[in-house]
């Protein structure tokens, strides 16, 4: 009860911080522009002639999250360490976990908001045809979970350094690995060597686990995959933070 109150206080502060700087608005605009561009220009939304968002819309999310999510997550801890406010935060009567979860939730909610603002795409597709809105909702859930997984990774790379740029680059590399592990050209290459290896590698990929959501299949294994990345990364964050202080 009390710990939720602490988490809420931190989440509120973090969200406030996003919107008091131009970062939030710039991010949302870029996110929406990219979504529109990929959906309508590259994804060929109109040419497909299908009332669905799976292909043209969600397919691109793993790719532009690759750059956008680390941009949101890089400041989580690096900024606290640079300015020294981490010393304030971690000497408050809260646990490190509450701080980590509170900060993570704030960014995740922020990404959720950006994602929700793509609603005109849903309206468009409903106006043009009669899509299965359950499938679309499922895609949104999957997309948000995937963003959470990337974000948790950014959280721990951010805890590793005082420099936001370093944090950004490292988390992009890790996320890229998670994408490429299931990227068809890579899996085809690995299949040439050994089929089980290809499957094993692909099972670590966000692409593999995101596919189901796009098709409207809410598989508990996929949900658990993303949630376990989140939990594991946040746990790593706490280990890194403790390591710094232990010296």
């Amino acid at each position: 009860m009390n710990s939720w109150a602490n988490i809420r206080t931190i989440t509120k502060r973090e969200l406030g911080a996003y919107f008091s700087s131009p970062l939030a608005y710039v991010f949302i605009v870029i996110f929406l522009l990219l979504c529109g561009f990929f959906t309508f220009m590259i994804g060929g939304f109109f040419e497909r002639g299908q009332a669905a968002l799976g292909g043209p819309f969600f397919e691109w999310h793993p790719w532009f999250y690759l750059f956008l999510v680390p941009a949101v997550g890089m400041r989580l801890w690096a900024e606290e360490r640079r300015v020294g406010t981490i010393e304030l935060l971690l000497t408050m009567p809260i646990t490190a976990w509450q701080a980590i979860v509170g900060k993570f939730l704030a960014s995740w909610l922020f990404l959720g908001l950006a994602l929700a603002l793509t609603f005109p795409v849903v309206i468009t597709v409903n106006y043009l045809g009669s899509p299965d809105n359950g499938v679309i909702l499922c895609g949104y859930i999957g997309s948000w979970l995937m963003a959470g997984a990337y974000l948790a990774i950014s959280s721990f790379t951010s805890a590793m350094t005082r420099t936001q740029v370093v944090s950004f680059i490292v988390s992009v590399v890790i996320c890229l690995f998670l994408i490429l592990a299931g990227f068809p050209p890579v899996t085809r290459l690995l299949e040439g060597w050994a089929r089980p290896l290809a499957d094993a590698v692909a099972s670590f990929s966000v692409i593999t686990h995101f596919e189901g959501f796009q098709k409207g299949v809410l598989d508990s294994r996929d949900v658990i995959f993303f949630l376990s990345i989140i939990v594991f990364s946040l746990f790593t964050t706490s280990v890194i933070l403790r390591g710094h202080r232990a010296g």
Binding site: G16, A17, V83, L88, M92, P93, T95, G247
Partner: protein, 319 residues
């Protein structure tokens, strides 16, 4: 309130803090002195639970900072070095956040914020972003944060650093006033602050406590303590020095100034010698000297500090 026992912190091969023990009770203001890198900040960070100790224990209000960190931290207000604050918030927002995370809600929170805004004179910048504040205001904002929950224990790392003389004065007054009912530890480089504020001072050097006592006790350690300066006339200059040196209580006698009207001498007492001044006064009366000036030195903190923290290079005694 604060009990520190054999506290140690090792960074790699460096013993940043090496076996520090002391206690601070309610109503005490403990000054924490030492050269840069002596381990002051590290000790304070361990007391507030920011970094775990390599060895030893800290208890605050009976709660071990490692075993019961949340309960112990509730009692502590902390002003870290350089007074960090969230730059992307307004002063008001920042203080509200600090109050809320300290568990103050509703009216209690509003009252607490109003109180510290008044105490720290933050009214003019209340709705300004922390980023745009001058150093003095930022410092006071962070200071306000540390007292927002009216804590029993205050740990202040260089609370007057970067403030102008007026602000320094205000902060010292504030610390002294709060010290009447709280246990306060503060670190400083400024020795005059020790006299102005502390009931007790600790000098720490290379991770160890090298002196611990009231400011007066520390001054006693100075060679200057108890030395008497006298201006004597109406007598041949050489005779004064000779006569004074013959006194049983006197140690070294130094002539500071000599001219046709008289001589200015400083007499250092022997170890554990009593009060020199009356003896010198009666001597000069007996010898029929004219005594133009006579006063006892109090001992100087800066000299004690230098002697203790740089034993190899310190200049000893008077000139």
């Amino acid at each position: 309130m604060i009990r520190v026992q054999n506290l140690a912190k090792i960074f790699g091969a460096k013993h940043a803090v090496d076996g520090v023990s002391f206690t601070v009770e309610r109503g005490e203001v403990l000054g924490f002195l030492g050269p840069n890198g002596a381990g002051k900040s590290t000790t304070m960070r361990m007391i507030t639970g920011f970094i775990p100790p390599s060895a030893g224990t800290v208890t605050v209000g009976g709660f071990d900072i490692v075993e019961h960190p949340i309960e112990a931290r509730r009692l502590i207000g902390y002003l870290p070095e350089n007074a960090p604050a969230y730059t992307d918030m307004t002063v008001h927002g920042f203080l509200n956040f600090a109050a809320e995370i300290r568990g103050l809600r509703g009216d209690a929170r509003k009252q607490a914020v109003r109180r510290v805004v008044e105490t720290c004179f933050l009214e003019p910048v209340l709705h300004q972003s922390v980023e745009t504040l001058s150093k003095g205001y930022r410092h006071r904002t962070c200071f306000a944060q540390s007292i927002i929950h009216d804590p029993d224990v205050l740990v202040l790392d260089e609370p007057t650093d970067g403030l102008d003389p007026n602000q320094k004065h205000e902060v010292r007054q504030l610390i002294r006033r709060m010290g009447e009912k709280k246990a306060i530890i503060f670190s400083t480089h400024i020795l005059e602050e020790v006299d102005a504020v502390c009931s007790r001072a600790i000098i720490i050097d290379r991770g160890r406590i090298v002196a611990n006592g009231t400011p007066a006790e520390l001054r006693q350690k100075s060679e200057w303590a108890g030395a008497v300066t006298a201006r004597v006339g109406g007598v041949q200059n050489g005779v004064v020095k000779q006569k004074l040196s013959q006194l049983a209580m006197a140690g070294k006698v130094v002539v500071l100034e000599e001219n046709t009207t008289g001589v200015l001498v400083r007499v250092f007492p022997k170890q554990n010698g009593g009060d020199l001044a009356p003896t010198i006064a009666s001597l000069s009366q007996a010898e029929k000297w004219t005594l133009a000036e006579l006063h006892t030195e109090e001992g100087r903190l800066d000299e004690v500090f230098r002697d203790i923290t740089m034993p190899d290079t310190a200049q000893r005694g008077g000139k």
